[in-house]
């Protein structure tokens, strides 16, 4: 799928590529032959309603979902080229239910990726707590002593701990209150820029996608129906399905504006 001349120039390769990726569950098609390339260092939002296939597509990257057909490559290498655990240790994955290990302290949770890879680094935990704006004092506490927002920050720290350069956010802010959600979104974007990550954010909230991402993909019934920059989407481009989603925050903004006027 790539021109032969690119082969020896990995920096020019797209960081991620989907080649006619399809995922079927029985007769249901969750992802329908999606082909897509994502550049290194970009912050991409994958937006769609529930059941549009966006989360399924995301999970083909770290093989939590195995495609029925098609290929997924990272830096030109097929994701199936190595055992799934090895692949996943290089990919940060944060999801709505977080899944902190309830029997481990915050420090143990954050360091788990290092531990299973046979690396252990005490200093790294403090550094990661700083990175996600958590006080170092919580390192020895158990997950059930933390608030939802704090727990999700721990989830992000855990995902970044092994030095992941690819960060997958699967409705990561879905269960948080709006204030925490906004703060955490902003923090993630700052981390993305500072650490030079490639980030994919799956969300059903178009406003979040428009404010955080460089590129917004809209999914509907397993297909990508729009692919545009936030500016273009706000300017009315990207087609009918995308505009239906953009219309929601736009109308809200206008109504808020009207209150002031």
């Amino acid at each position: 799928m790539f021109p032969a001349s690119y082969r020896n120039m990995p920096d020019n390769l797209p960081a991620l590529a989907f080649d006619r990726v399809t995922k079927r569950y029985g007769a249901t098609i969750a992802v329908d032959s999606v082909s897509l390339e994502i550049a290194r260092g970009s912050f991409v939002a994958l937006v769609g309603t529930s059941g549009s296939g966006k989360s399924t597509l995301l999970k083909t990257l770290n093989r939590l979902v195995e495609p029925s057909e098609g290929h997924v490559t990272i830096d030109g290498t097929d994701v199936t080229a190595e055992p799934a655990p090895m692949l996943r240790r290089r990919i940060g994955y944060v999801f709505q239910n977080i899944g902190l290990f309830p029997h481990m302290t915050i420090a143990q949770n954050i360091a788990i990726g290092l531990k299973i890879a046979g690396r252990s680094d005490e200093a790294k935990v403090a550094e990661l707590l700083d990175l996600v704006d958590l006080p170092r004092a919580i390192a020895d506490r158990m997950p059930d002593a933390l608030s939802g927002g704090q727990r999700q920050r721990v989830g992000i720290a855990r995902a970044l701990a092994p030095g992941a350069k690819l960060l997958l956010l699967d409705e990561a802010f879905g269960a948080l209150d709006p204030v925490t959600r906004d703060a955490l979104g902003t923090r993630i974007r700052a981390l993305h820029d500072r650490l030079g990550l490639t980030t994919i954010l799956v969300t059903h909230d178009m406003a979040e996608a428009l404010l955080l991402a460089d590129r917004v993909l809209v999914m509907k019934t397993g297909r990508i129906v729009a692919d545009a920059t936030p500016a273009d989407l706000v300017a009315g481009k990207g087609g009918g399905d995308a505009q239906a989603l953009v219309q929601v925050p736009r109308a809200q903004a206008e109504r808020l504006q009207a209150l002031v006027a």
Partner: protein, 512 residues
Amino acid sequence: MSAFVDALGRVPPLLAAHVLLSASALLLGIAISLPLGIWSARNATVARVSLGFASLVQTVPSLALLALFYPVLLSLSALVGGGIPALGFLPSLIALTLYALLPIIRNAVAGLHGIDPAVIQAADAVGMTPAQKLRLVEAPLVAPVLIAGIRTAAVWTIGAATLSTTVGQPSLGDMIFAGLQTQNWALVLAGCLSAAALALAVDALIGGIEYGIRARRRWLWIASAVVLVAGTAIATLPLWPKSGGDRTVVVGAKNFSEQYILARLIGDRLERAGYTVEYRDGLGSAVVFGALSGGDIDVYVDYAGTIWANEMKRRDVPEHRAMVAAIADWAAREHGVGLIGSLGFENAYAFAMKGADARAKRIASLDDLVRVAPQMTLGSDLEFLERPEWAAVKRAYPLRFAKTTPYSPTFMYRALESGNVDVISAFSSDGRIAADSLTVLTDPRHAIPGYDAILMVAPSRAKDAMFRAALTPLVGRIPVEAMRAANYQVDRDADKQTPEAAARWLAAKVGL
């Protein structure tokens, strides 16, 4: 109270055997259940099969489950050319292990299914291999639930282990069964309390481990585990090898007073001859001959008619002397078992009624009984209705009772006395026949074979001159009156004697 203290003196060696058996069964049960539980949690078909099997095992009464492995192991042993013990530790271990499976598998499956799916997804997402996921996430999270299952299994196993007495494995059940037969309530109480205390202690300690892990109190679960292991080691201390080896003999006894008394009488003689003696009490009469021929016990007293009908499957009824000779011949030829001789009395099945009742109804023989049987209830011992002797009696006399009720022997006499039953399958050497003025019905058609008490020894002792010399003086020495009197000392309600005391009395009475 001193009787109770005496009874407590019998606890240590039995407790040791009980703990060893229960702990072995539990450990084996855990070793089987853990992989099976993990596999079941991952695969619905495996779960259906393993949980279905484990539940099925639970529906079998524990006593029946224990008894079941006797014929199974016997035929297995025959298949591989011998060497597999069908009695004692092995069948008990297998049955109790099977019993322990269900709670452990069930809790392992429930615990694994109960883990938050988000936690499992996170374990996958951070790149754990299946082994790492099991070790770092699933095992610690499932541990409290799993240990709760092990705790249940431990209590069940300790309770059910009391029943292993019936297949010849020593346990605290020895005291319970022996005490029930001889109405020695101090012995029953000591056995029950010991078993209950053991179960409660193990329950509390495993509970401590469970709570310590759940509440993340490291010191608590480690301390509980240490006490549990140390307690097991200390309790089994009496079983640790000591000198004596070949000089130790095991005297077997079935589950009634006469057998206990005779076992002590034999044991006393062997001790005087320099042997170290152990007793295996309460063996079912279906397994005791197998225990002897398999070498699990060295000597016991059986009754000619029992061997004749149960082991030799004979239906004819020859004259006593010929029958005993035929048994000696058969036992030596087929099993290498030695028959030292008849003790001199008979303990036959004898149908008995209250004397006044028999006179009023003009019943003196089994022939007379036929006509009134449909209005009567028969009380029998626990096994009589299944025995070939009952089948032989029914062939000879068309007896049809309104109702038949099995009792343990002691309660059978009580049931006759209280009028719950009208006729019982008594034993001719029983002291209660004379004491309760019972009428023994005659057997004009000679349906019931002779039941001369005969001294049987294991193949390994059959040619042991010193062993035989210690026992030969018993042959022909015990008249039925002396045996009845000794039995009555143990069976009566007032001024009850222990089998040991009755055995000493009997020895003095017959001049041994």
